[in-house]
Amino acid sequence: MLKRLDAWFNKKGWRDSIIALPYSWLILFFLLPFIIVIVMSVAHRANASPPIGFKDAWPFIYLDNYIRLGSDWIYVRAYAISLINAGIATFLCLVLGYPMALGMTRVSKERQRMLLMLVILPFWTSFLLRVYAWIGLMGTNSWFNRLLTSIYNTLTPAGFNVDSIPMMNTNFAVILVLVYSYLPFMVLPLYANLEKLDFTLNEAAMDLGSRPSSVFRDITLPLSIPGIIAGGLLVFIPASGELIIPSLVGSASDPMIGRVISDEFASVRDWPMASAVAVALLLLLVGPTIAYNYFEAKAQGGKSPT
């Protein structure tokens, strides 16, 4: 009965159509727009609608935008700031998230469900609202700022005391809010990875003479590298292109690349330049990811999933 149903399903081409659905989605809403962006990035700014124009003669493309990317200090600096901020935020998310994820795997199943809920709870409040809440917290007269100030003052000699720590519109604020916002994206893949690990392996290592600290170093840590990479990419990639956080709490003189794209697009109305910046950012992020996947596949040597 089931077999016949299956045969009917295949003959009518249903299977193909169902497989085609996600592909068409990706082509329509990811690949096509991306091709448009690439095409736009080799155009010139023009007084038209849309405000772009192509070269009249073969090969019909301008590479000026990309040349400007490499030579104009503003762009290089913005890329550097983006990657550094995203890198620091990713590292801090890992340092905070790993013990959280590991701890979650060591409690009862019911507790795990509750803690998992708590991790995703912030998503139920608007992201924008949470960033605004941080603006309030970082203000000069907020309890948070006063708390940090008093801690700072007790730790430093009298001559260095300050009335309040200037936090708003600094890179510190950007990283702080990045870490806060993206921490769940680190914890969730790490938890999923660590939760699958067989605890018997830890017992075996302990049985063979390893203290708990060595067991972590020899067993848990190496086996959780896929989770670390997944969480790292999930934090690093969106954090590098982040627009809202640097716009709301960051400093205007140290812009991240997202803000540069937005400004080029909306204020300067240089769509081709904005596209070139976006394409370069994508290449910058995709390159290492592909390289990692390639080497990972090679190192695993066709290993079956465990």
């Binding site: 018997t200 017992e203 049985d207 003479g209 390893s210 190496p222 086996l223 290993k303």
Partner: protein, 371 residues
């Protein structure tokens, strides 16, 4: 050299109890295990055998009682400081390490030179015949090979005591038989004390020289495979090891070497060898006999012994032997196992369906169980 000759308990388990919340997993167990013994803890699932093993390894702490290994009290000694290694049921091989690294893992913490370490790993791989696979990862191996890697890894540190949790559980039948002898052979070569946990009586009987049968957290009987099989001291042990025909009975007459019991289910009296401990008249007991201790024939046997009569209700032919289910005149059905010693065609068998047959059981083969 047998365990009795050495006569030196390596492991002393004294009145050990382990409870999980309200559940008593191990209940006041005392056990001495000698140096160089191949000991089996045998029982069904949930009988406490694995909990006892995990307490020896240090993964569980006894709620009460004391465990000493080599004279040293193990209370408060963490797993990584015990002279004990374990072979896990799932093998627990480290998937990110080669076979060589797996086997050598436990040696990292020992004071050895690089060369000594390498030699030891090689020696262990030779022992389990896996030398040519040293550079492979565990997932590239079959179940039997992984089992040997696990064994080599557990032996590499030359522990005083090796714990094996269902060592053959994940292997198919042919491989099991082969591996049983391999493990026994390795135990003999190394002289290390082995404790095997198993639910499989055959595995326990072929591997171990002493077996403890466990039920609901309690040790029911400890003894050699022969003791356990031929001289079980309780209904549980008689029934758990092998198959048995078991009936309630009452002692009618105690005299000399024999007792006579009335067995209502058989509708007749049964003569049995008197237990050495003696038994009071009129006591309520059980009598039991194993299917292979019954002799089946088509003619009424002459001479003494217990003779029963019935018709063949069911017959199973297994080649080397046959299993009969005989319905007695009293209505009770008993199992008889008979070796097919003579080559015979189907029509020429000892008995066919619905044939009337006579069964005889020697008094010495009847078990008298008091509990």
């Amino acid at each position: 050299m047998s365990a009795q000759e050495r006569d030196k308990p390596l492991i002393r388990i004294e009145n050990v109890t382990k409870t999980f919340n309200d559940f008593i997993a191990v209940n006041d167990v005392s056990l001495d295990i000698m140096e160089g013994e191949m000991f089996a803890l045998l029982g069904g699932s949930g009988c406490g055998k694995t909990t006892l093993l995990r307490m020896l390894a240090g993964f569980e702490t006894p709620t009460a009682g004391r465990i000493t290994i080599g004279g040293q009290d193990m209370a408060g000694v963490p797993p990584y400081q015990r002279p004990v290694n374990m072979m896990f049921q799932s093998y627990a091989l480290f998937p990110h390490m080669t076979v060589e690294k797996n086997v050598g893992y436990g040696l990292k913490h020992e004071n050895l030179t690089d060369k000594q370490r390498k030699d030891r790993v090689k020696e262990m791989l030779d022992l389990v015949q896996l030398t040519q696979f040293a550079a492979r990862k565990p997932h590239q191996h079959s179940g039997g090979q992984r089992q040997r890697v696990a064994l080599a890894r557990a032996l590499a540190k030359q522990p005083k005591l090796l714990l094996l949790d269902e060592p053959l559980g994940a292997l198919d039948k042919k491989l099991r038989e082969h591996t049983q002898f391999e493990i026994a052979n390795i135990q003999y070569k190394t002289g290390i004390t082995f404790i095997v946990v198993t639910h499989d009586q055959e595995e326990a009987m072929t591997l171990a020289n002493r077996i403890a049968v466990m039920d609901r957290g309690v040790i029911k009987q400890v003894g050699s495979p022969t003791d356990i099989y031929e001289f079980p001291r309780s209904k549980f042990v008689a029934d758990f090891i092998g198959s048995v025909n078991l009936f309630p009975a009452r002692v009618e007459k105690v005299g000399g070497n024999e007792i006579i019991c009335d067995v209502p289910q058989l509708g007749q009296r049964i003569t049995a060898a008197a237990p050495a401990s003696g038994i009071p008249n009129k006591a309520d007991i059980s009598v039991a006999f194993r299917p292979e201790k019954v002799v089946i024939s088509r003619q009424k046997p002459k001479g003494g012994g217990n003779v029963l009569s019935g018709v063949v209700q069911d017959l199973g032919y297994f080649g080397k032997d046959s299993l009969y289910r005989i319905r007695l005149d009293s209505g009770t059905v008993i199992s008889v196992n008979s070796v097919n010693a003579r080559r015979a065609a189907e029509s020429d068998r000892v008995a066919q369906w619905e044939d009337r047959v006579w069964l005889s059981v020697e008094p010495g083969s009847v078990l008298v169980l008091e509990d």
